[in-house]
């Protein structure tokens, strides 16, 4: 079953086009990460999927329904965590969850939601005095209290410390394995890599890549080899293949190549001939971040035509 369908969705605010002709489908149970820099249209897209606003043109369906016209029954099947926390500071986490649980036909028990979100220690504390990270957990617990079929997470870990992030990841992973369709926006590449089965990269309101973490990594291109000559004097003796890669400082070799073995053989031979140590040699794998930046940078300017 297809959980989400977007067909040629465009959203304009006045003269500003936040989302331009975006089309994608999300099968039920998939974990999709929407990745992109600030202003790429991630939140605008998510808010249309959540029903807060209608597309200027194009069609959206979430669980077969136009989100902007979603009924109560439809909203009962959608869970969401908004980009900024939105809680009544005067209630405890437990009371907040009990209040929201009462809105759903088949809510998760409050204690279970508290357990999943990792709130047990703070369940009876007023939300207003919780830390930012703890409040995000309450947001997450509200998002899942109704046993949603589709869960939207808008930057759920932004501003969290690493430990809180890890915990949120675990909670979200558990939901994903239980068959919930999840759409997550983030600008952390490692988050998308860790959690998602599929990555949609948005840039300037357009889909720049629709890929998987593995394929994105494969797209990353050459590895980077870096070696600093302790004595710049030997630079003159560099083999022809390496010499062009000497940085302007006259001592740093920075080589981007897919033929790692070949480069290393040349470098090792050169080092042996000149009795140089190789302790400072660095070989960097192609990073997801690099792949992501390559995808973003290869985008035409906002005014340019999309091919």
């Amino acid at each position: 079953m297809t959980a989400i369908v977007a067909e040629h969705v465009t959203k304009r605010f006045g003269g500003f086009e936040a989302v331009s002709d975006v089309s994608f489908e999300v099968p039920g149970g998939q974990f999709l990460a929407v990745l992109g820099p600030n202003g790429a249209g991630k939140t605008t897209t998510l808010e249309m999927l959540e029903g807060f606003s209608a597309p200027t043109s194009g069609t959206l369906r979430v669980l077969g329904t136009d989100p902007h016209r979603g009924s109560r029954a439809w909203r009962a099947r959608i869970g969401l965590v908004l980009q900024s926390t939105s809680l009544d500071p005067g209630l405890t986490a437990r009371d907040t969850l009990a209040l929201f649980a009462g809105l759903y036909p088949d809510p998760r028990p409050v204690s279970e939601a508290i357990e999943i979100a990792g709130l047990a220690a703070d369940a009876r504390t007023k939300v207003g005095v919780l830390s930012g990270g703890q409040r995000r957990r309450v947001d997450l617990a509200i998002g899942i209290i109704g046993r949603p079929a589709v869960l939207f997470l808008d930057e759920p870990t932004t501003a969290l410390d690493p430990e809180a992030r890890r915990h949120t990841w675990t909670a979200v992973e558990n939901l994903a394995t239980s068959g919930t369709t999840i759409v997550l926006t983030t600008h952390y590449i490692d988050e998308a890599d860790h959690l998602a089965q599929r990555i949609l990269v948005l840039a300037d309101g357009r889909i720049a890549a629709d890929t998987t973490p593995a394929r994105l990594r494969a797209q990353a291109g050459p590895a980077t080899i870096r070696y600093v000559l302790e004595d710049p004097g030997v630079a003159r003796a560099l083999p022809a293949r390496l010499a062009p890669h000497l940085e302007p400082d006259g001592r740093t070799l920075l080589i981007r190549s897919t033929d790692i073995a070949g480069v290393l053989r040349e470098l090792a031979g050169f080092a042996e001939r000149h009795r140089l140590g190789l302790a400072g040699l660095e070989v960097g794998p192609p990073s997801l971040e690099e792949a992501y930046l390559t995808v973003i940078d290869s985008q035409p300017s906002p005014e340019g035509n999309r091919t």
Binding site: G39, D88, A98, Y104, P107
Partner: protein, 294 residues
């Protein structure tokens, strides 16, 4: 009035047996509305400041006028407290809930949207009536049931019922109007001054605390605004003369019209989303010119 009435939102799934998901139905709206009223009342009561103004102010004014020996204006004082509760405090709370993103969160939930309004307005009305009842009770404690000089001027059981009905109607009118006005208020900081600037002159001109020698066009105008009919009706209930209805029809009609009109405007113009998204600094889209007003 138990303050946890209706707040007992079910913690466990309604159906007792497992495997009920297929037959689970959306909770009925009466239960949802009761839950909202309970939630809002609990929030109002938990916030001592709201109570301090709504109940405390009339009581302070009553005690302060004890020395004069003559009848205190219990109706006027209580009505003054009511406008603060049902207009200013309520309006500020509503703007704060909107600007903090709370309303947006409710809007995305399966709660029918009208239930949020209705819950907030009815809870405010309930609080305002309680505050009015306390003011009347304190007046009775201090002066007995005789207000004023003549034997005909006294607070009867029916008069008490009438004044509470007037308070309920007036609170409904003020809270509905406040709901309508909040969509024009851009921030929590602006809420209190804006709301105060509207109700305070109105309440004074309407003769809540003392009589002004206002121009006649102004005294005609205020009979169409919610403050003067509220005070007139409340005083009429306390200083009730035989042969006169306990609640003047015209006053009730003006208040009812404000309640209905306020609700209508609120439904048409209500704003669920904050004016400025409260994103974490540095994570907001840098180029978005303004948030979606839709």
């Amino acid at each position: 009035m138990s303050n946890d009435a209706g707040t007992a939102t079910p913690v466990v799934p309604r159906a007792a047996s497992p495997g009920h998901a297929a037959v689970a139905r959306l909770p009925g709206t009466p239960r949802l509305l009761a839950g909202q009223i309970g939630y809002q009342v609990r929030q109002l009561l938990a916030n001592g400041r709201t109570l301090a103004i709504g109940i405390g102010l009339p009581v302070i004014l009553l005690i302060a006028s004890k020395g004069k020996g003559s009848a205190p204006d219990v109706a006027g004082y209580a009505a003054f407290g009511l406008t603060i509760t049902a207009w200013a405090s309520y309006g500020v709370r509503l703007v704060a809930a909107r600007e903090s993103g709370l309303l947006k969160r409710w809007r995305a939930s399966p709660l029918p949207r009208w239930c949020y309004f209705a819950g907030a307005i009815l809870a405010t009305t309930l609080t305002a009536v309680i505050a009015g009842a306390v003011a009347v009770a304190v007046a009775v404690l201090l002066w007995g049931s005789h207000f004023g000089a003549g034997p005909s001027i006294q607070l009867t059981g029916r008069g008490t019922a009438a004044i509470l009905i007037v308070f309920a109607l007036a609170a409904l009118a003020w809270a509905s109007a406040a709901t309508a006005v909040t969509s024009l208020i851009p921030s929590v900081e602006a809420a209190f001054p804006t709301l105060t600037l509207i109700y305070f002159p109105l309440v004074i001109v309407s003769g809540v605390l003392f009589s002004l020698n206002e121009p006649s066009w102004l005294s005609t105008l205020v009979t169409y605004l919610p403050a003067q009919p509220m005070i007139d009706a409340a005083r009429n209930a306390v200083h009730h003369a035989p042969g006169v209805p306990f609640i003047p029809g015209r006053d009730a009609a003006v208040l009812a019209a404000w309640a209905a009109g306020g609700l209508l405007v609120a439904i048409l113009t209500f704003r669920w989303e904050p004016h400025r998204p409260r994103g974490h600094a540095g994570t907001r889209p840098t180029r978005s010119p303004r948030p979606d007003v839709g």
